[in-house]
Symmetry: C2
Subunit: 421 residues, 2 copies
């Protein structure tokens, strides 16, 4: 018999309890033991909850209970859960968490603290999709060349609506908020931070690389206009908020941003609130994992899978697949400015002679060559220049854009979307 | 240090040796130990092989070597590998196999023989896609509602070409043979048997159900005509050779056949030689796994992942996820005739008055109601009737078709494609 404590009994916690109780037949058959959720910790004992287990408001009590074998951390936040997980591990209890922010900041310390005690976190990336298992165990024979993930359902829902139905950003944001897909303050989702946390976790498993959210390029989808979407459609691209990890030589790029990708790629076909992660290994080629990235039951499916795994296996590999720092390879994080890709740039200009020449000249100064340029008139006096560049470095495009923004003939700050082909 | 012997050094075996040697840095970092391929067994020692390890023609010698820890079985066939795997396990050696036919027939005996000795088989289904890991470990919290898999690249390549380029079956078969995608005798692939073996393996993991290839419905893609493809396109369907496992109450359907599926489904979007498996769990909803289903490197990627897994973990759950017979649930195989789905039926008829009435009457006799019917003239004297039915049972449609085939006004045996919506 294995006893589980749930710290934080919200939507996901309720689902964890229910799955353990309602799918007991299959879970016992698969794990070979009876797994019981015995206690839940909540902040407010007065709030009605839809679960059938004992509740307490004392975390300490639960962490010290001898009969608790596995602690499931579903509190949210970073500092509090860090203390809870640390204490649980120090008390010899296995831990399962769905907390991506905790791991984005403290995964390597926690791996050290855990040692041989199982500490699992499948639900922290892409909800119900077993991407951690796939990457850490299923693709372990490969050097990972790249990871491209749609890991935020809110953003993907909004982008899908903007592309398929031509709805503008503000309208669809409001709709997403009404449907409960987006928070009142949506920054964490649509600003790319949520995806950034997840990307850092995957990057540790793929590359054994340590980085914090502050270290990497994170941009959101807030400034995408219908003009950009029209351009993407015209040239056979979709626009997705992607978390991208890519190894080039001894450097790893980590970045989150809205991205134009060819419609022919599998990941371009993932619409609505669904998540998907494409992983390219040097031996297996591309594999892709698709499913629900959020929601109580889907997330809890991953949490319970981790619990079963802990019960089934005597000992696991290091939590992140290998120890930090990765001893026998020397991967380092590529500086943001050195990232090389194609760029789409939208520049609103005054419609007068010589503008094109001025802008082309600046691109030329930074060695940026242009693949395609379209001019779309806005009114009699102004137009949008939509430019697709050949491969260039982030620092060059940023410098060029900065210089272009200062031109008299340019109406507002240029906007760019990175392009992955 | 862990030593690996490879029994059967063909394309996949060569790739296994190369990955272990060439990706040693990452494999050592991930497994925490050095893993060495030390010997390979081949039938013909004179044949030149592209590997850098000792070769022998004596399986017995290798199975008895004390310094061999893990045996990789890549021989092909059923009876011989069964003996080899059995002896290896009895000698206490861990086993990794890519052999789907072996498992389609002997997976439960081998699980019993293995006991606590690791026996892994990720490469046996869908090549490099870690679908076994995903299903057995990642989705273990779920009752599996259904599995729908494109698990044969040859068939998918041919169907994609037929649909996208309008090439007929015989022409594309020859092309696939020239490209090495199809064997000289392509029956195993295009007749659905390869997919059938794989489906049985997945069904054991999902449902703990024992069945052999002879027990289940297996049909191929040989009779699909351009007419069928036109119809599918017109009504928004794609045609795929699917392996389908579906639980309805206490019964499990297992079947392989060409299937019309709505273009909007993710699995309909998997084209060419690629494989993909969609799994619906009662908690997680749909998840999908996509990648290369064949090829030396992709298959070897899965074999080596299993080797790493064995080295990393002290003990694994039962090989198939749970023991046979599944003790605390009572799932049985649904008889083929009781399978219920929609059907597309193509009937070539003489173009004369009353034919439609005759055919409709027979459908009516068996309680089959028609959703759509199209008549496409072939010439002045004959036409194809293309019919889409509402939900009905396999036994009813088979009986109706048998009766329709005997009508004077029907030119040849009707052909049907099952439809999954």
């Amino acid at each position: 018999m294995v006893n589980v404590a749930i710290i934080g009994v919200g939507t996901v916690g309720e689902s964890v309890v229910k799955i353990l109780q309602e799918n007991k037949d299959i879970i016992t058959a698969r794990s070979g033991k009876e797994i019981n959720p015995i206690i839940g910790v909540v902040r407010n004992l007065d709030k009605k909850r839809d679960v059938n287990i004992e509740l307490t408001s004392s975390v300490e009590e639960v962490l010290n209970r001898k009969d608790v074998d596995i602690v499931v951390e579903l509190m949210g936040g970073v500092d509090e859960p860090y203390k809870v997980v640390k204490t649980a591990l120090e008390n010899g209890k296995s831990v399962v968490t769905a907390n991506k922010a905790l791991l984005a900041y403290h995964r390597y310390e926690l791996q050290d603290i855990a040692g041989n005690i199982p500490f699992e976190f499948e639900a922290s990336v892409a909800g119900g999709i077993p991407i951690i298992t796939a990457l850490r165990d299923g693709l372990s024979a490969n050097h990972i060349e790249s990871i491209k993930g749609i890991m935020n359902g809110t953003s993907n829902y909004m982008l899908t609506k903007m592309i398929n139905e031509g709805i503008d950003f503000q309208t669809i944001l409001k709709e997403a908020q009404d449907l409960g897909y987006a928070e009142a303050d949506p920054t964490f989702d649509i600003g790319g931070f949520d995806a950034g946390h997840k990307l850092l976790i995957l990057a540790s498993i793929a590359y054994g690389i340590d980085a914090k959210p502050e270290d990497i390029l994170i941009e959101g989808i807030e400034q995408i206009s219908n003009e950009d979407i029209q351009f993407a459609k015209e040239f056979g691209y979709s626009i997705k908020l992607l978390g991208i990890a890519k190894r080039i030589g001894d450097e790893v790029e980590l970045r989150v941003h809205s991205t134009m990708i060819p419609n022919s790629e599998m990941i371009a076909k993932i619409d609505g609130v669904m998540n998907g992660v494409s992983v390219i290994g040097d031996r297996v080629g591309e594999t892709l994992y698709y499913g629900a990235g959020a929601g109580g039951d889907a997330t809890a499916s991953a949490v319970v899978a981790n619990i079963i795994d802990i019960v089934r296996h005597d000992k696991k590999s290091p939590m992140l697949g290998f120890k930090k720092p990765l001893e026998n390879t020397k991967l380092t994080l590529k500086p943001t400015g050195e990232i090389e890709t194609h760029y789409y740039v939208r520049i609103e200009v005054k419609d007068r002679a010589g503008v094109l020449a001025e802008i082309s000249k600046i691109f030329g100064e930074f060695g940026i060559s242009i693949e395609t340029m379209l001019q779309k008139n806005i009114d009699d006096n102004s137009a949008n220049l939509l430019i697709l560049t050949h491969l260039t470095k982030e620092k060059f495009i940023l410098n060029a854009i900065q210089k272009i923004a200062k031109l008299d003939s340019v109406n507002s700050n240029p906007y760019m979307i990175r392009v992955e082909k």
